[in-house]
């Protein structure tokens, strides 16, 4: 087995035991990247220089017996996480060459845990998209089928993990941007509770929905990464000061006696039959191990996409106002006056999807429309949250498909925003309600495309997601299939 095929916990074991070194590991990853990256294009930029410095430091600290939970482990960062002194583009021309003078809190925590950063991964521009096709720096391809999209917006991170171009990766999830690409690329992806992982230094898309989370090769790695990145941050007002458990304690525990809610609204027509079969297979496997499946109802589910596409663009239209060409990033040449500077800079700096959402967001906040759109959407959002509160009184977790279909073809939905938006139909609700969710691989379609099952839990109960995800992995023998690259 190649070093780059190992999980975080396997790699860490070999590093600590001295079987290999951080430098060797990093060499293996960069060789792997060199071999596959021109086909996958998971990265926007590689951080080779600083990565080798970090690897050297990791080897030194291992020799000195100072071992962090991620010492020497190569991790990729979605290019939405600010990295001190290193370009952070959000896959947008408007931030091309922007170098933040600060680390995102998550980046700082990973650094402190000994991680080695391989590079910044590709994404939909400003995380707006479900296919990683709206990136200014070109598309990322699904390692399982290079003619297909990896999902999005964190498609680069998902593809990098699936293609063994890093041991684990960080992504962000505003409406499914971690869980959906994790499902489509056959890896584990978690969106924690809103407020659990600091958003400081995460370039904002929709502030009330954004949340950072990990992409990993297995659930154990997910627990390890969550242990590092979760926790209160005084630099974020919406960060919640709630005690963080050791997520590893939830691994390898049975879910016997658990009640698993199966929301009928998530199993309606429109789901690909193969996806449905794989997800139902996962449910039955859990049932077989002693969990109880109960049908539940989340009646406001049908409004999720509509509510999301009002709230997210509204917040985005305001969050993206700062990209005006005045202080940093791209500025159009030779404007005649201030207004022209704004217009030229933002016209040339943003791509079509970002502009579409800025326009929608500006519209729904406009005087005369605010009540009908933004305010109404906020009220419905509260109802969606109440749906979950009611259901979680009846069950421990909820099980749904992560996506309605497996990975679609490049370009298939790019010109049809509604179809594209519907690919997040099962993931959006968790962001609106602020609850945690995880996508775990649960099989393949006949064409060999991965399928993911999503589990949702009440606020701050990520532990339950780790527990059931881990239980499912032991029930479904570890998938030996790897993408052929």
């Amino acid at each position: 087995m190649e070093l780059y095929e190992l999980t975080v916990h396997e790699l860490h074991e070999k590093l600590v035991s001295g079987e290999t070194t951080a430098r060797e590991v990093l060499d293996a990853y960069y060789r792997r990247i060199e071999a596959v990256e021109d086909r996958v294009h998971a990265y926007i930029s590689l951080m080779k220089e600083t990565a080798y410095a970090q690897a050297e430091e990791a080897d030194r600290s291992i020799r000195e017996g100072r071992i962090g939970p991620l010492t020497g482990v190569p991790i990729a960062l979605k290019d939405i996480c600010c990295t001190r002194g290193f370009p952070t583009t959000c896959a947008s021309r408007i931030l091309e060459n922007f170098r933040p003078p600060y680390d995102a809190t998550v980046v700082a925590r990973l650094r402190a845990a000994g991680a080695v950063f391989t590079g910044k991964t590709n994404m939909d521009e400003f995380a707006m998209g479900s296919s990683t096709e709206t990136s200014y720096f070109g598309v990322t391809r699904n390692p399982w089928d290079l003619e297909r999209i990896p999902g999005g917006s964190s498609g680069g991170s998902a593809a990098a993990v699936a293609a063994d171009e890093c041991a684990a990766a960080i992504g962000s999830d505003t409406g499914g941007s971690i869980r959906q690409p994790a499902a489509l690329c056959g890896v584990v992806g978690m969106k924690p509770t809103y407020g659990r992982v600091s958003r400081f230094g995460l370039v904002a898309f929709a502030s009330s929905l954004d949340q950072i989370g990990p992409f990993t090769k297995d659930v154990r790695d997910c627990a390890i990464l969550m242990n590092v990145i979760a926790g209160h941050d005084p630099r974020e007002s919406t960060s919640v000061p709630v005690e963080i458990p050791d997520y590893r304690a939830f691994l390898d525990r049975s879910v016997e006696g658990w009640k698993i809610g199966i929301p009928r609204e998530y199993f309606m027509e429109g789901i690909d039959p193969e996806v449905r079969a794989a997800v139902e297979g996962a449910a039955r496997a859990l049932e077989g191990s002693g969990a109880k499946l109960i049908e539940v109802s989340l009646p406001h589910t049908k409004y999720c996409v509509a509510v999301y596409y009002i709230i997210a663009p509204a917040e985005a239209s305001s969050n993206l106002a700062r990209y005006d060409g005045v202080r940093y990033g791209f500025r159009a040449e030779d404007p005649r006056d201030l207004l022209e500077m704004y217009k030229k800079t933002r016209s040339a700096g943003f791509g079509a999807e970002v502009k579409r959402r800025i326009i929608i967001g500006t519209y729904v906040l406009s005087s005369g429309y605010y009540e009908a759109y933004y305010k109404k959407a906020s009220q419905v959002r509260a109802l969606i949250r109440e749906d979950f509160d009611r259901v979680f009184a009846l069950c421990d977790v909820i099980l749904t498909p992560t996506t309605p279909t497996a990975a679609f073809r490049l370009g298939e939905k790019l010109d049809d925003p509604i179809q594209m938006y519907l690919s997040d139909i099962f993931t959006i609700s968790a962001n609106l309600a602020g609850i945690p969710g995880i996508s775990v691989p649960c099989g393949f379609t006949g064409e060999g495309l991965p399928v993911g099952v999503q589990f949702l839990a009440p606020h701050f109960e990520e532990g339950r997601l780790i527990q059931i995800g881990s239980a499912l992995s032991t029930l479904m023998p570890r998938e030996v299939r790897r993408p052929r690259l």
């Binding site: 502030s207 974020e236 917040e315 906040l365």
Partner: protein, 476 residues
């Protein structure tokens, strides 16, 4: 037709916290451009605001001082618009749920006391400043001021003359400074005022079309701008014209208001709750804690000074014009036990000395205790009032205690009858012609003898004793 002006004022006051409202940067005025900045107030990608608790505390003080109802739950909202001095493209302000509402202020006008309603007080961040280069077509942005905390105080349209507006502004200003939450410096922009003005025929309920006045950076300018604008609107209405709803800038040098050009279009600020900030919760306990720290407010103090010390309204007004002055006065009055005399000295000689140097009572070189001792020395006859005037000047200049100077310079008043008699005898003997004139009925000559005696004693003769002795000794 007779018109009644209707005026509402919006005041922006910078709060005197040492750090900004949403980051730890300094609020100091006058630093080199863009040095009091950080990624948060520069609006860099991914940064987040964290509310400075002190700002809430200061704002609550003002809300309490203006009799407002404080909203237990209030929240920040984003006011969206593009301008280079606004790094995020939105200003964090408050909209639907402000800090406080429904207050009022009693102000004193020539026509007596008047109650002016306060619609709301809310917290917000200040924007930066643009610096325009006169010699080339560039503008520069200084973001030091970005994120300096402000409160906006919005009045009801209860004001009906320029004079009332000025009185209201002075009262607000005085309270802010008394509370120690704003330095009140209008030139540096710590206290700014915009006005909404309209006219309506006297007796009519409905408001006329209003204009908004900006760029008035002193009380005098606010009053002048309003007077001008009222006349301008009156002239248009009298001529059968219509008022255009617009923003107008006060031009101080021309003494006129002109429509603002360029920037002003009908803005839609697209306010919505800021998702980066949680609801601000101000419970009763916190409000009570803050209430306990409130000083006595200027109007209450003025009334108390009149009652407690028997001062005329005018004196009480002058003495409470700043908290430092009032504190100084009260200490001196209490220590010397002669409040009226203390008032005269503080408002007269001492204030004049301070004004000459542009100083305030915070930095008075003569302590209140020293002044009180000096007054007691006059009262017990040790020195004369005339000597005291010189004495105070020396105390002020040298920072010495009164007794010290009196001893050094031998300024003690001559109250010894024998000593004074000897002096007078000498003068009478040296001026027989004047003595004869006086005794012949020319009483004016009396002043001559007083002058001679004072000259001979270096001004130290007790005036009353001197008068008595002179009269007796000149009697035929």
């Amino acid at each position: 037709m007779e018109y009644e002006p209707v005026i509402g004022l919006e005041v922006h006051a910078q709060l005197l916290t040492s750090s900004k409202i949403f980051c730890a940067c300094s609020t100091a005025f006058g630093a080199p451009p863009n040095t009091n900045t950080c990624p948060v107030c520069l609006g860099m990608p991914g940064v987040l605001p964290v509310l400075n608790r002190k700002v809430v505390e200061f704002a609550v003080k003002m809300a309490l001082a203006t009799n407002c109802r404080i909203n237990t739950y209030n929240r920040f909202a984003r006011k969206n618009y593009f301008y280079p001095d606004l790094p995020k493209g939105y200003q964090i302000s408050q909209y639907a749920l402000p800090l406080a509402e429904d207050g009022h202020l009693i102000v004193e006008t020539a026509a007596g006391k008047k109650r002016i309603g306060i619609t709301r007080i809310h917290m917000e961040e200040d924007a930066g400043k643009l610096i325009h280069d006169e010699h080339n077509p560039y503008s520069y942005v200084d973001l030091n001021r970005t994120g300096v905390p402000l409160i906006e105080i919005v009045s009801e349209p209860d004001i009906h003359s320029a004079e009332e507006a000025a009185a209201y502004l002075r009262a607000l200003h005085e309270i802010l400074v008394y509370l120690g939450i704003c330095d009140g410096n209008m030139e540096e922009g710590s206290f700014r005022c915009d006005a909404n003005v309209s006219l309506r025929p006297k007796g009519q309920e409905a408001f006329g079309t209003r204009t908004e006045l900006k760029n008035m950076n002193s009380f005098r300018n606010v009053q002048r701008a309003l007077e001008y604008e009222i006349k301008r609107q009156e002239y248009i209405l009298e001529g059968g014209g219509e008022i255009v709803q617009e923003t107008r800038l006060w031009d101080d040098s021309q003494g006129v208001t002109n429509p603002m050009r360029g920037k002003e279009e009908a803005h839609d600020y697209r306010y919505f709750p800021d998702p980066d900030l949680v609801t601000v919760h101000i419970d009763e306990t916190w409000i009570e804690e803050i209430r306990k720290t409130l000083p006595e407010l200027p109007m209450a103090r003025r009334e108390r000074l009149q009652k407690e010390y028997g001062l005329p309204a005018y004196d009480a007004g002058v003495l409470t014009s700043s908290r430092a002055l009032a504190d100084y006065y009260e200490e001196a009055a209490r220590l010397c036990g002669a409040p009226k005399i203390a008032a005269n000295w503080v408002m007269g000689d001492l204030l004049k000395l301070l004004n000459e140097e542009g100083k305030t009572f915070d930095a008075c070189p003569v302590g209140a205790a020293s002044l009180a001792r000096m007054i007691r020395l006059i009262e017990d006859g040790t020195i004369s009032g005339k000597i005291a005037k010189e004495l105070l000047q020396e105390m002020y200049a040298a920072g010495k205690e009164p007794e010290e100077i009196i001893a050094e310079r031998g300024l003690v008043q001559i109250t010894d009858e024998g000593a004074l008699k000897a002096v007078i005898e000498e003068i009478l003997a040296a001026n027989p012609a004047q003595v004869a004139q006086y005794r012949a009925g020319k009483e004016k000559v009396f002043g001559f003898f007083v002058g001679q005696a004072m000259k001979a004693t270096g001004g130290k003769a007790n005036p009353r004793l001197l008068n008595d002795l002179l009269k007796r000794m000149l009697a035929p």
